[in-house]
Symmetry: D2
Subunit: 489 residues, 4 copies
């Protein structure tokens, strides 16, 4: 019965999307395709309003075989000044974290690492807003964290309800299917949030409790859509049924034992997230997102109900098996295999910074940066990929470009001319949107530099933006809303 993803659904995984109809036939680009120089680019550029760099560009086509200076500086693509990194992950790492990580290996069986780990496990629960959860710091990526959440709590053939609203929720569904679950997919148009009413109906209808889990991506990074797990009435009902321990409504007919698994990869530590209050059974994130660390640590937090489920779940797993972790937790040595010493110290530093700023202040900063970005997009006369305000994401904004422009050219150009890193449009929205990631350790002036850069890129590719307009709109808002820096007052 489970909805089966067809190959074309996965094209973000590599299949080339169709040419944009109104476009000029540029090379398609998606997350699976690093942006390469289009053969048609010089032609295309010559059709744009002239500016002196066009001839430069044309000339530069010759240098397509530019020899990267690999050895000398371990940098492939040197440019003066600092890269403006505004992809929605991996994000900018604070210098404090880089410093904390800049160290030799240590014996992870000495008393020092367990002591550090113990502290980390306590601290990390705070960013999930859980007191009863059990966290796992797994040497893996977000994809591995997904697999950990699923295989530890479910058995092959289990029916789960899952949502596709963009590339990352789609990839999670793909994983769920490949792991042998019976996935009941609820799909929305890209740019829309998850259809929570459909979920309510399915749960209500499922008096036999065949649904074993509900899986949802809190913030879809591909479209900049945040599913409002906090305030939506329908969702409240779901939460009620999903986790009876935290039921806030008494509608008995909704009582349902399904587990509630939430991908918080691009939300936790940046958006309001409340594991306990919302009745989440497994929540997860990755180190390279709002925690502002390097990639390499998948952080998974399991409710007591999820831990209980893991004792009977039959999905095969060894590397991802929570049981091994729990055994070592009990012994006080914490690690079933070698952790990254550097990431542990880095996580300590990252959490210290977050707690010093205050988690709620961190979230407020993201709200401010998200708002400022959307005001700029509006000022540019461009559309947000997110269909309704209720789904606006404060960690990533996907900006829709006019049909005559290829959004991947914007990304390419940002990097090649302005040392600005933006996110590509993926899969269904490849070529149609570019993304501004505004999450993690980043501040207002950095964002304003990015927005100014986007304006110039837009002009470069022929969009008639009024230079300064987005920055002006963002500044008007920010100047009234940026707080003083507490340590400097």
């Amino acid at each position: 019965m489970g909805y089966i993803l067809k190959m074309k659904d996965l094209e973000g995984g590599g299949v080339v999307p169709k040419r944009r109809k109104g476009g000029v036939g540029l090379a398609p680009t998606n997350e699976g395709v690093a942006y390469n120089l289009s053969p048609l680019l010089s032609l295309y550029l010559n059709l744009l309003p002239t500016s002196y760099f066009l001839s430069l560009m044309a000339k530069n086509q010759v240098d397509v075989n530019y020899q990267y200076n690999v050895g000398a500086k371990m940098d492939y693509t040197y440019a003066p000044g600092r890269n403006h990194l505004f992809v929605p992950g991996p994000v900018n790492i604070p210098d404090q974290v880089l410093r904390a990580m800049n160290r030799n290996n240590e014996d992870y069986r000495s008393p020092a690492i367990p002591a550090l780990t113990k502290t980390l496990l306590e601290d990390v629960k705070k960013i999930f807003k859980t007191t009863s959860g059990t966290p796992f710091l797994i040497p893996t990526t977000g994809t591995g964290a997904w697999e950990s959440a699923l295989t530890n709590t479910l058995s092959p053939g289990d029916r789960i309800v899952s949502f596709i609203i963009g590339q990352f929720s789609l990839l999670w569904v793909d994983q769920q299917q490949r792991l042998g679950f019976n996935v009941d997919v609820v799909e929305s148009e890209w740019g829309y949030g998850a259809d929570l009413e459909a979920l309510a109906s399915k749960l209500a209808a499922d008096s036999a409790h065949t649904i074993k889990a509900v899986c949802i991506v809190h913030n879809e990074t591909a479209t900049g859509v945040t599913n409002n797990l906090a305030s939506n009435d329908v969702l409240n009902n779901i939460l009620t049924v999903a986790n009876d321990k935290f039921a806030r409504l008494s509608s008995d007919h909704y009582q349902h034992p399904a587990l509630f698994l939430v991908d918080g990869v691009s939300s936790i530590c940046a958006l309001d997230f409340r594991m306990d209050e919302w009745g989440v059974d497994v929540a997860l994130t990755g180190s390279q997102k709002a925690l502002s660390l390097p990639t390499g640590m998948g952080i998974v937090c399991a409710s007591p109900k999820a831990i209980e489920a893991s004792q009977t779940a039959k999905s095969l797993r060894v590397f991802f098996d929570w049981k091994d972790y729990l055994k070592f937790y009990k012994m006080g040595t914490y690690w079933p295999y070698t952790p990254s010493i550097q990431l542990l110290y880095g996580l300590k530093a990252a959490l210290d910074l977050i707690f010093e700023e205050g988690l709620d202040n961190v979230i407020a900063r993201h709200t401010r940066l998200g708002t400022a970005t959307r005001l700029a997009v509006e000022a540019w006369g461009l559309k947000n990929c997110t269909a309704k305000e209720e789904w606006f994401s404060d960690t990533v904004t996907a900006v829709v470009v006019p049909p005559y422009i290829d959004s991947s050219e914007i990304v390419r150009r940002g990097w090649k001319r302005y040392n600005l890193s933006l996110g590509l449009g993926l899969n269904k929205v490849a070529g149609k949107v570019f993304r501004i990631g505004h999450l993690g350790h980043v501040n207002d002036l950095q964002l304003l530099g990015c927005l100014a850069g986007v304006e110039m890129v837009l002009k470069d590719v022929g969009y008639p933006v009024k230079l300064g307009s987005g920055v002006a709109a963002a500044c008007a808002y920010l100047q009234n809303n940026i707080p003083m820096i507490p340590s400097r007052i």
Copy 2:
């Protein structure tokens, strides 16, 4: 039919080993147990030949709740001078590598990271000595690399032959069983190499070709045993049958299509390893071993035959699935999910250093350090855990202590008094051996400092070592065998 591991076999995974018979009842310790202060320690120490620190030690029992100065310096356990890190992993990281890794995140979809990755994939094949293999740089640990090797090439229920000769081969067998394979276990006494004759018999008897794979740990880190994959006659026969492409003997009756999977975690880049020549189908290592990087990258290399097998293998896997990697390789973007930018640059630097030294010179250095260590052990009058010279490991030496000494006390004492990190004895040899890891980016004088430290620790715990004896024996050999440093001649 497969041999089923009993719980007691896994005690390295946490179960407390039985008291040592001749010992004084000290707390058992294994890889799963960080060394904690024994409650009997002060009593024990008072029985030893006195020296002034004993009273210190006794007094210090009081300070067992010492408050680590966590915040101030991000170091739990400050000590002046540099830690002598001689565990068999994670190992010392060269400063050049630390420098290369000390950097902000980057957009991994820009052209820079694929270009870097492409170079790395080519370079990394050299350390496997393969030209036909396909490498995968997986954000995981050695345990994950194991799982990658198994799940991509085999299907549940497949019969595999696997060896237990120590804790790590035991853990791999445990994984193999948990992943649902029918494991035909060949066990040796700890300290002995794999019983390759038994393998030969099994293969010869298997005319139905029910054996789908042979799994072997090249170097058992727990006992310091290197299975000689290169020169052993029996093994040559096995290699013949294991991989017909590289058959060196024509004994037809040995022809056998089983895959040959080799754990090279503590061998590759340190011991002679020849993937193509030896007919290995999947070889794997971890970044934190002889490559001298932080933990976090499992490096797996697959022969064409293994790649072919992966197309039909039915074991469930998503995160570890080679297919996703291969799809992205083909597209030229290389990454199905976010890699650690820092580890990629670190790997580049690590490989550059290895190639500058020369891989064969690196291996020769390990031979030299291993030899020197064994000469010291002999001079101390202690036994090598490795039963025969043919299995001596040049990356780790497990030293057997007399029955009246608890080897974990040696490890504990090394760390607590001399800032020396040694490896614990694990599982069956917990309390009986301590281990000196001499692999990765380390040189002769560092080893000699370690050996001098071991001598003092031995004296501390009551072993009547002649101070200086091991160092003298090692020096006598080294002074005749250390080459000039080419860059300084």
Copy 3:
């Protein structure tokens, strides 16, 4: 006869400037005074157009004794995101340089350091555009480099012509007087360039050749004034007379043997500078300026004529004595005392980056950033402190604020609210100007972030700026002038 600086001339060295006449009585601030919170600030702020942060600010006055979190993170004043460092020095350090410097000490008497030094001495000549000069890498600051230039070439009582056009030229004159020279000071109004006609007259009148040296600051960092040493006709004459070896005009009556000493602290590596072509005898800079290194290396380059003069100069010096350096140069060991190993490797990396970008491209980038900044200032309706376009500096812009605003409040506010570091007005222009440093390793988007920040600060302090106006003006220019990044084309 030499002009004697009166105490009030030196107030940048600490004396409190007089209250601004039209101002609101805020605490005066100059380079000698770090910006502290004015006791009148909350009152003042309440007079400004309201915005919500004002009440915040008022409240924050209470926190004036905020306890810096010193121990925990070694950061006194944590703020999320990256500091926008736009003081005219010390400037942003490239990550590549930080990496190169992140290393242990080395024996500076081993062959490695002399080999590195030799390379550096050759390379560093390129940034001075000299082939005949002799460079000295002195463990000191710009102030020490001044002293090195003077004491090695002159004797007490020597008559020198020197210019005061701002705080730094003033401080140099102060040093010249304290070192016992007879300084013939030519003073200009602050904001004006050096009076080169006066110099010409003095030289012409000096048939007895009593003038032993002409000292000039190429770029006055306090006012953003660049003395055009390249194209000015009068200067050409001076150059003629100042250094007969490089005479470009044949006006015999100008022939004069005075040495030509140039402070290039905020110009070299950022502005066009041609030691040989311009006949400069001693040129100097500091590591923390356009070279984008930490403070700690004064780089002095001496012409053959200056070297010759050093053999008879009678000013006392030991630490700064070139003779010691030259003796060690000759021996091939290069160092009369211990250099900073880290700065040597850092200088290597910094020069490599400059040469990779191309020195002329580096200079063109500074021209671009300077132009963009000035366009923003104009768009804000503010005045440049620099009186005439011919003196506009491409490394620092001093912006004049209206009399009712205290410019130090702008600097203070930038830091306390926006994590933006701007330069204070100094001495005569304290409270009247703030400075934007746009030199070193910085790019266009970083500058645009800074400019957006300045706009918000201006609004904060009551200046009716149109938000976005400066950024728009800068972008309009930049979007037509930023070249593609060669490594990324």
Copy 4:
């Protein structure tokens, strides 16, 4: 009247020392001469007892033009493993300090840097053991710190008593003479301490108080001689007369107003040093010595009497002038010119580590390492350059080699074969001694590695050392004297 140094006295500054009489005519080497490959080396080596590397060496002569791999790794002379850095400065930097220094520049006029500086100035007084002193953190080296001490307290022509007991005291006397003081030199044979009786006579005879200062090097780094400023009776008398505020004896006839200036470059933070108790007027050290920082900060501490003297001292100085510092101290901004942000944070970290270990424990560690080194030297049958036990230095040991060996060959060989950095013999003892620096952030096992290396080198160059003998002697002592690491007990 002052003793005038003749050129030959300064040969450590570059003049080639005479051939060793008993030697084989190897190239002389001193601190001014980095060790280069001797043209006679291969001949020489062939005369040594054979071992296989000799032919290697001979062959390597061919590679004298070895092309350093400069660009690739920013390392001229790559060798596997960590350099054993045992020169008496610059010394090993703790990783914690490297981390603290690995940061971008900051605006030094923001409130953060003065706040940090204020803390540092208080903390740094503790390492001088002074409460009344005023410290100066000068961007310079030890040579500059000398100049700062002299020029701020004395006037040209002032009579001072100074001692020559080795190369560094000689160089200080050279500086004193070049700065125009009338230096009354008291010379001792190298290896002997300062002749304090001679000083007593001079002071007693100087009823006219013509002696304005007594200058002494606490620890002579060239010979490993520590002048015992603490316990020597004669010195106590001197101290009495040198600084009446701290007089411990009442012998009136010794009352004398001379200032007492002490070079503590290789003693402070490693040897017992008590500025206030000993009546020192100016004490100084350099960051790259026992503080274990990079070079670049000269730390000078002045007693109230020295500060008073600075107000009338007529020696010319600007860069080194304390007055400028004091003016900025008073203003609370602390810096007359730009400090190294990195060194300030590094100093904070270095002091934190010293205080965590405990200054007295740090000193005890140096006593232990010094003792162990001397025991090794004795076991090797070699002589300590220091003539009497009362002068033994716990920071550096100068080892005398037999006449048939060139000590610089030992240094050269250590570096070229064992990655071991030892100190050369300087000037009068060039070729006759090599030096082991055992100061700063270093521990027992590191030292033992070094000692083992020295043994192998000694054997390499033909000295009949019993391998292991020195290490054994050191271990026998250390094993009884190393305390437990407090954070790990």
